[in-house]
């Protein structure tokens, strides 16, 4: 080999490895044609559908074979047959929004023993049941910011209530726990949480529960509804009742469902992340796990397509990012 050619090759190799280091660390390319099963909490919840679609978009981008299967009810046991089926079908990865933090663990463990990568999203299981949890936003952050939003609107004093999903909804219960933590701070001493009502994530039940709250607690200043079904139903009731403008409503909801209520003043501010991004990130994490680029250990970094790089945090938790706060000024920029 002549020196010139050698030098050229050397430079080329150097630059190649150099580029590689800048882009993907020592990453192997993401494997294609991975079989990825996405199991939402239930298949008829519009929020879950958006999230699953995000995961499927990522699968398409990466050239994986993704599919969405799941139950139509949200009982603790309803998702188990789908996990078992994924094992039998020798899928490469399972993405699951868990209906119960514990009930699925033994079955997910069985899946992991069969070398299936498990990523939870939206709603976590106990850490031993999965490699990575895609957290849509820090639970503590959601609890704090919802209380702060309400406190700002009602001047840090008065009665308020929470309209939750089902009594057993893991996410909502965690967020409520952090809300109660936040309320212990001295600046909220004049605010009182009078009741936690459950709309069961059914539109009609949430609607009548809102009615009941407003009637039973005449001094109610505000309602926090940390569920997209609940806040939409509550907004609809309040907007056609004399309570409109007197009771502050905030919580978690999608801009498309709440746009008109923000415009008519029923809601001033609410928050949410992009549900599709949660699914998208989960699918990328699963593909990276399957490709051997990460193991779900703290400190590992991986690339997640359009979302850029993400780092695995403590206990295998990957944070999507801070939620977006929607109000009359920005709501028209969003469509989901």
């Amino acid at each position: 080999m002549n020196p010139r050619a050698f030098a050229q090759t050397f430079v080329a190799v150097l630059s190649l490895t150099g580029l590689g280091t800048i882009g993907y660390g020592q990453d192997k390319p993401i494997k294609k044609d991975l079989k990825i099963t996405c199991v939402p909490k239930n298949i008829n919840n519009p929020y879950m559908v958006t999230q699953s679609n995000g995961a499927m978009d990522a699968c398409k981008e990466l050239g994986e074979q993704g599919k969405v299967v799941g139950p139509s009810e949200t009982g603790a046991s309803a998702q188990v047959p789908y996990i078992n089926t994924a094992i039998t079908q020798r899928q490469n990865a399972i993405l699951i929004a868990a209906n119960d933090p514990n009930a699925l663990v033994p079955y997910l463990k069985k899946a992991m023993e069969q070398k299936i990568k498990v990523v939870t999203l939206d709603s976590d299981t106990a850490p031993e049941g999965r490699s990575i949890f895609i957290n849509q936003a820090s639970a503590e952050g959601i609890g704090q910011s919802l209380v702060q939003t309400l406190a700002k609107a009602i001047g840090n004093s008065g009665d308020f209530a929470i309209l939750s999903a089902t009594p057993n909804a893991t996410n909502q219960n965690t967020w409520i726990k952090y809300m109660q933590e936040e309320l212990k701070k001295p600046e909220y001493k004049d605010m009182k949480l009078v009741k936690i009502a459950y709309g069961n994530d059914e539109d009609q039940k949430s609607f009548t529960e809102t009615q009941g709250l407003l009637q039973a607690y005449p001094n109610l200043k505000g309602i926090i509804s940390p569920t997209s079904v609940g806040i939409a139903a509550a907004a609809r009731y309040i907007s056609t009742s004399p309570y409109k403008g007197k009771v502050v409503l905030t919580g978690l909801g999608t801009p498309n469902q709440l746009r008109e209520f923000v415009k008519d003043g029923t809601i001033k501010e609410f928050e949410l992340w992009k549900p599709a991004d949660v699914g998208y990130l989960a699918a990328y994490a699963a593909a990276q796990l399957c490709s051997g680029n990460i193991q779900g250990k703290e400190g590992e970094t991986f690339s997640a397509g359009k979302l850029g790089n993400r780092t695995v945090g403590k206990d295998g938790v990957v944070l999507l990012g801070p939620p977006t706060v929607f109000n009359a000024d920005n709501i028209d920029q969003f469509n989901f």
Binding site: K67, S72, G75, Q89, R90, D100, N102, A126, N168, N173
Partner: protein, 345 residues
């Protein structure tokens, strides 16, 4: 509920001859179809999942079949499951020893069944209305006990029972429990005087009363058994998922009832066999499994279950009425022939 009286005997005959056979045939077709459509279907692992999937419903269906045979119904079974699961969680959290906690759950289930029995037998209230009431009442009690809490962390030796299989087989431990109980119920219904009395009650309430069957006590015992076994199903559920929640098993009553009816137990009472019910449970379980393996959407499963339920009665009825019509026509022809012959003379 059916007003139809004509042709019942033919229909009964048609059913007796063929229903279990027909179910067995369907079962064979389902297994064969499953094996052809999906190569994962006939794996040991898949079968142990398949059998474990419907074990709570199967447990509840056993006493329920006997109740339906006597002309009554129990819609509260799934609520008793939830109540028992909640109590188990609560007791375990309160550091009560597990065997004692299990015993207390079974007792609570029996008591709940006794409440049903008491209202139905002693006050002669219609079981459909009573158990719609206790469906709400007992689920309500579960929520009162546990609220929004979920208890997990059950001792591994018990959850191992929930998810484990019998050594060297693919049969899940809870399913073995079901097999044992199914045998007990089979003997009880088909090989004891108690069983004959149960049929007698369903066939004709008044006649059974006069012929000296202690109808009240038998029905009472059946509802107590239904309560206790539903509580057992609640315990199995809790260990299988290591999760005690007030909403556990919500809606299971409809699946249990569907299995009982599909098994050939008639709603008018007096008819049906344990074999039929076991076959129908297996059939529903296999169809669900095959469809899930084939990634058929969950909603289709509901449509299939509902259609099976209706077809299970519609088909025998149609067969019987066709035979009946044919026989009537035959007889009319004979009469006409006879008439023609006699006028000719």
């Amino acid at each position: 509920m059916s007003q139809n009286q004509t042709g019942t005997s033919t229909r009964r005959l048609a059913r007796r001859v063929s229903w279990e056979t027909m179910l067995a045939g369907l079962l064979a077709i389902a297994i064969l179809g499953g094996a052809l459509v999906n190569r994962d279907f006939l794996t040991v692992e898949n079968w142990s999942n398949l059998l474990a999937n419907f074990v709570e419903i199967a447990l509840m269906a056993l006493p329920l079949s006997l109740i339906v045979i006597t002309g009554e119904i129990d819609l509260s079974v799934a609520s008793i499951l939830g109540l028992s699961s909640s109590l188990l969680g609560l007791l375990w959290e309160a550091k009560v020893a597990m065997p004692l906690a299990i015993l207390l759950c079974l007792l609570l289930g029996a008591a709940a069944g006794a409440l049903n029995g008491f209202l139905i037998v002693r006050f002669r209230l219609p079981s459909l209305a009573v158990t719609i009431g206790t469906l709400a009442l007992l689920r309500g009690f579960a929520y009162i006990l546990l609220g929004d809490k979920a208890v997990a962390d059950f001792p591994p030796e018990y959850t191992a029972f929930g998810i484990g299989v019998i050594p060297f087989t693919f049969i899940p431990m809870p399913f073995a429990l079901f097999i044992i109980l199914a045998v007990v119920f089979w003997i009880l219904l088909h090989h004891t005087t108690v069983g004959r009395r149960l049929y007698a009650i369903g066939g004709n309430q008044t006649a059974a009363l006069f012929s000296g069957v202690d109808l009240k006590r038998l029905k009472m015992l059946l509802f107590i058994a239904s309560g206790a076994i539903s509580a057992l199903a609640g315990i199995v559920y809790t260990f299988r998922f290591s999760s005690s929640r007030a909403d556990n098993g919500t809606g299971f009553e409809l699946s249990a009832i569907a299995a009982v009816f599909l098994g050939g137990v008639t709603v008018q009472g007096g008819k049906g066999t344990v074999t039929g019910v076991v076959l129908s449970l297996l059939l529903i379980g296999i169809i669900n499994n095959v469809l899930t393996l084939a990634d058929v959407a969950n909603e289709i499963l509901r449509i299939v279950t509902g259609s099976l339920l209706i077809a299970s009665i519609l088909l025998p009825n149609l067969i019987a009425s066709t035979r009946e019509r044919w026989r009537v026509r035959q007889r009319l022809r004979e009469i006409a022939k006879f008439g023609a012959a006699s006028t000719a003379k």
